[in-house]
Point group: C2
Chain length 419, copies 2
């Protein structure tokens, strides 16, 4: 079967499954999620064995350490997958809910009812946990999902998808509500992204080249999940103790993720006090700085000169760009120019500047006196997430079950016609 | 200047204007809207004169009557534009509002703040009133708008855009918040649709070929505004009086618009009673039927046989496809196959079938015992609209000021870091 025929067959089967999923009962979906949790635990040796094959091949092919880390499945990670299933089962079912209903002068009742999107295609890197996260969130939302993970995780993903599909069937749901694309060429992605009559949404999640490649070819709507170029601005009226905690946490708590801090902007008036303290605070973490000429001497041996390409860059590592700015206006201009609309925070005790930053910084999360690491569905109180959207439409920020649905207008009348 | 350079200059100027618009005060935006209303009235002779040139050329070029009708500006239409400006001024400002805010266990306050989308490009046909509607809704939402109307309306649009820009400037807002694209080639549209670093949303509004052409080339997110293939299903337990009113209103009140009825599905048990009465009811309107073999003899001389291509077709005229079905399941299957996810209604007094239709029909508006013509922002109580989206993401159904904005997460803390 050629790739176009194969992907079409996959998309058509997912479309058919999505119609059944749209009217699936909350009970059937939750039965599936709870049974899947147990199955993942019961089949952990099968999953780990499949993952060992992937890891051996990836190591042989010279995969770098951070990617190997994301590819690795451990018993603890399987426990985490099972826990995620149970958490999603415990969440309220979004489908069929109408938040408000209003009466029109002619007596019609109008409301917006939450309904599934339909078919979601998830294009992601070699991260087996995303396979489970995407499947359970889409199923909870009443969608069918097409999973196309990075080729290095194929064996792990095949093992996981088989368990997911068995449990869908056992719960009386269509197994085709979760279809893994076993073909590893770029052509398969291109085909999926152009099936706008069968697929309602494509979510590319990964590096810029993956996201850009999908956007280039897609006629299906796309919600981008870029990595983030996150900024923190330390105002002259910042509480420097809080600022040290926030910068340390934002940069070092998990430097390889999208909500880690990449660029620090420091007000000139406090730079000479703040930056040496920051250097001493970050010493034990092994972090290094790329600093502009003014900041460089304040950061000691941990700093090297800032290159132009360091601005707007995702280091994905324990490296922090540092720039001294005159005021909030310069900080906002810098963020507007170099930020990626992901996460930006200000540290200040000044009310007016805090409020201006909140209004004017353009990012999916803006924060005052908090770590950038809070831009996460769980941390913000939204529950499990499929990723963090940097697209402004539909879902801007963490994308959970609710963002995998849409609303339609329901109008209940008794014979009304338009005058 | 070549077209790529020109469109880039337009988009860049709109981008710069959008940054100023994002923090424009509600007062400045409303001052603009109220002044624009008066200016449109004061300059009506200029607008009418420009429109006469367009009409003369379009008539000479052989434009058909419905399109000429949509191109025509009359004093009453200018009054309508001015009224729309005043109505939009009277609406609450959406920007900066946070609907709910919640506290996390660590004391952070989290909320979603409504913010402008940024730059919206509107691609539409030769309808001068859309120029004003799109501009005033985008400005109210704090966006900048790029207007690219059908070439036959160029003189009318130039006159309107000049008035809009003068009033933006007079209100202290950036005139480039509304930019008309004066170039009439498809290449200009193609260029705009690929500027994803400058434009946040493209809205194509018009016929299928226009919408499809935009979707084919766009890398900017697109919200489609197709015309609708709207269905009504007359259940065996319908109140036939109400059903006659609803079908008549849905089909004949304004047959050329997207929420007009195109296909009637009638339950077999009541077809022999209902269809002859419908034929007699619609006689005076001049409506005709395309009927399946079973319905054909019931509709008399007003009917001709249904051709396969009549299903899923927008007649845009006083023509109605009619098909007899066995039950609700067949009606829902038909709608799923031939509908355009725009507007579908059921006429029934049976509670369970009404509820099933509401849940299972997949359209931006589903109705029970109401005319399809109610799928309209004003009629549903949402205020002025820029069109009716048949895209499921972000805005499904009438798209008003609120749908021209997005939300970002705002997190207010006092030094919180992630554990």
């Amino acid at each position: 079967m050629d790739i176009e025929t194969l992907t079409k067959e996959i998309a058509e089967s997912a479309r058919r499954a999505s119609r059944l999923m749209a009217s699936a009962s909350p009970e059937a979906k939750n039965d599936f999620l709870l049974a899947l949790a147990s199955s993942l635990e019961d089949n952990s040796s099968t999953i780990l064995e499949a993952n060992r094959i992937d890891l051996a091949r990836a190591t042989e092919a010279g995969m770098d350490a951070p990617r190997l880390d994301r590819l690795t499945v451990t018993p603890a990670i399987i426990d985490g997958m099972a826990r995620a299933c149970r958490e999603v089962a415990a969440m309220p079912d979004p489908v069929g809910a109408t938040e408000t209903q209003w009466q029109r002068p002619n007596g019609m009742l109008v409301g917006r009812m939450r309904v599934p999107l339909g078919v979601v295609a998830m294009i992601y890197e070699a991260r087996p946990n995303v396979t489970v996260d995407a499947a359970i969130l889409c199923i909870k939302a009443g969608d069918a999902v097409i999973l196309r993970g990075g080729k290095e995780a194929l064996n792990s993903n095949l093992a996981l998808a088989a368990i997911i599909r068995q449990n869908l069937e056992a719960a009386g749901l269509p197994p085709d509500a979760a279809r893994l694309v076993p073909v590893q060429t770029r052509e398969a992605v291109n085909c999926l992204c152009r099936m706008d009559n069968l697929i309602d949404l494509v979510i590319p999640r990964g590096g810029e080249s993956l996201v850009r490649a999908v956007c280039e070819v897609a006629s299906v709507p796309v919600l981008k999940h870029y990595l983030g170029v996150c900024h923190a601005y330390i105002d002259k009226d910042a509480n420097l103790e809080k600022a040290l905690d926030i910068v340390e946490n934002s940069k070092t708590q998990r430097p390889g993720v999208c909500n880690a801090l990449e660029c620090l902007l420091v007000n000139r008036e406090i730079a000479a006090i703040f930056l040496p303290r920051l250097a001493s605070r970050l010493k034990k973490s092994g972090a290094r700085f790329r600093a502009d000429p003014e900041a460089l001497p304040l950061l000691g041996y941990m700093a090297e000169p800032l290159a132009p390409e360091d601005l707007g860059h995702e280091f994905h590592d324990l490296i922090l760009a540092v720039k001294i700015v005159a005021d909030l206006d310069e900080a906002l201009s810098h963020i507007d120019r170099y930020g990626s609309r992901h996460t930006d925070v200000i540290c200040t005790e000044n009310y007016s500047r805090a409020m201006r930053f909140v209004r004017e910084a353009d990012a999916s999360m803006v924060g005052v006196n908090v770590s950038t690491r809070f831009n996460d569905g769980g941390q913000l109180g939204l529950g499990a997430e499929i990723g963090i959207s940097t697209s402004k439409l539909h879902a801007y920020g963490p994308m959970g079950v609710r963002e995998l649905t849409t609303t339609k207008f329901v109008v209940l009348g008794n014979g009304q016609i338009r005058a």
